[in-house]
Amino acid sequence: MNSSDGVLADGAFNWVILGCALFVLLLLALIVWQLVSRSQLSWHAFGWKFFWGQDWDPVNDQYGALPFVYGTLVSSLLALVIAVPLAVGVGVFTTEMCPKWLRGPLSFTTELLAAIPSVIYGLWAIFVLVPILRNYVEPFLARTLGWTGLFEGAPYGIGMLAAGIILAIMIIPIISSITREVLQVVPQHQREAVLALGATRWEMIRIGVLRNARAGIVGGVILGLGRALGETMAVTMVIGNRPEIARSLFAPGYTMASVLANEFSEAAGDLYLSALIEIGLALFLVTIIVNALARFMVWSVTRGQPARARA
């Protein structure tokens, strides 16, 4: 080939891959533009009141998203409360305690949990988790902790508690894999230094390892939160889908993602569709902020090594 051909082909190739890179930017711009422009109608009709109103009444064209915001926040926080100690425990065990031969298989198995599709989690939750909750766990909680008001009412099984538990199972792999990642970058001499002072293994982990990796672990937790906020199918299948705000975790609820899943394809009327898209926009903004924060925190610990965050 002569050199002018090469220059021409080089130019074309550069433009093609630059086009691909630009398209990635375009995708985000498209998402923002579509969500913003198509939610205008609802924004003009309700303004900020949209997020404080409690009535979701498509028949009379009245839309208030507070029950969904509440459901999303409570189910995600509940998931964090359950998942964080477990996930951090697993992360610490795999990096600091378990025998070398077990390390690979154990991290592989926890990552397997991340590969199961959300709808299969939901399926399992409906037919296995919910009956267990209804027959054993919820009656027990009502007897022992009923006085807190968090565990009262009829134990249906389906409700906020079920949603929180299934979300916890789903976000454990993310949090534990990030925990493992940040623990691995803690320099070995930190551990040796603490051990040399006569620390037991737990003291070594607490003083030499966890204290150094704190910011990264918190980052992993927030990344898990981001995942929980946007999770749709499994939650929709077990939360009960009723737009009410109840104190008891046994009561059914509704989340932002599940109202989209249930009502979007049937939304007749421009204002109705616009209100749903506004919920989508809010969900989008919240998850972006949460994710950016999380990535920054993980990055501040693993700086220098590419963060293989698998969210």
Binding site: G6, I17, C20, P117, A193, W202, G230, M237, A311
Partner: protein, 300 residues
């Protein structure tokens, strides 16, 4: 900075018998180990339970009718998910066709030309895209494709999945290309090979197996996605091969059947879940096998 508090004993406590302090520290140490072990057991329990239940419920329900027939009307026993399996394959094919070249192209850009502000921006945006909830991607595909075509379609479903695949593929492609030693590129330039040829036949080829792994990761991730298909592909009770018509998909069918009140549909939901998992795992395994054993074997 290592904090020594709690390690160096307070002088006043030195008078207490040594074994007493040691006992307390030993007990804490054992408690911590016990706690960590029990978290592992607690986390593995649902995993085992889900897979066990899936196989136990699924195996008995996957039969010839399930794999070859279309769904029966509500309440009737029998029928299958053949059209949903085919629909899923169709939607995933569209998604991969759109998403894979784009993702790889953007990854090449980042690895070969992306050491600047613009590259950082693309990297940041693709991380952001990675975190967008799948249901929101569904809304956007609905607004962009469904509203324009005026009906739900396989194309819209494929577009939604493609948007989800791009960021994962972009970042893994970049990572894999950066692993290729610069000496290889320089050797090619030294021989007068133009830049595009170097990238395509040297850099990209060297990183092939890694890039394919990244693509499969993205594929496995979107293959089970339900939320973005709810109002794009929408689902269909019958066979459909038209790209612009509502199309059934396995995850959608599992969802519909799982929340239905019919026992036979519950049975089929389990069967569908098992088939879905097997499809995902075998697709990933097949590609890995081809990469390792086939013509591409010598490349990596």
């Amino acid at each position: 900075m290592v904090n020594l508090r709690g390690l160096v004993p307070d002088p006043s406590r030195l008078v207490t018998p040594k074994h007493e302090i040691n006992l307390w520290r030993r007990v804490t140490d054992h408690l911590a180990t016990a706690f960590a072990v029990s978290t592992v057991i607690l986390v593995l329990t649902p995993l085992v339970a889900i897979f066990g239940y899936l196989v136990y419920k699924g195996i008995g329900s996957v039969n010839w009718a399930f794999l070859t027939q279309t769904p029966k009307p509500p309440g009737e026993i029998g029928g299958g998910m053949a059209n949903a399996i085919a629909g899923s394959v169709l939607i995933l094919a569209i998604g991969s066709l759109l998403g894979v070249p784009l993702g790889i192209g953007a990854g090449i850009y980042l690895a070969e030309f992306g050491r600047n502000r613009f590259g950082d921006l693309v990297r940041f945006v693709s991380d952001v895209l990675n975190g967008v909830p799948s249901i929101v991607i569904g809304i956007v595909a609905y607004a962009l494709v469904v509203l324009r075509q005026k009906h739900f379609s396989a194309l819209a479903g494929g577009a939604a999945l493609a948007i989800m695949m791009v960021p994962t593929i972009t970042r893994t492609t970049e990572e894999m290309l950066l692993l290729v030693p610069n000496a290889l590129r320089e050797a090619a330039y030294g021989l007068g090979v133009p830049r595009w040829r170097t990238t395509m036949s040297i850099t990209l080829r060297t990183a092939t197996s890694g890039i394919i792994t990244g693509v499969m990761l993205a594929f496995a991730r979107v293959a089970g996605e339900t939320a973005p298909l709810l109002f794009t592909a929408f689902g269909n009770q019958y066979w459909n091969w038209h790209l612009d018509q509502p199309t059934a998909a396995l995850p959608l069918q599992i969802f519909t059947y799982a929340i239905s009140p019919y026992d036979d549909w519950h049975r089929q939901a389990w069967a569908g879940a098992l088939v879905l998992i097997i499809l995902i795992v075998s697709a990933v395994a097949a590609v890995r096998f081809v990469v390792r054993r086939g013509t591409l074997g010598g490349v990596a």
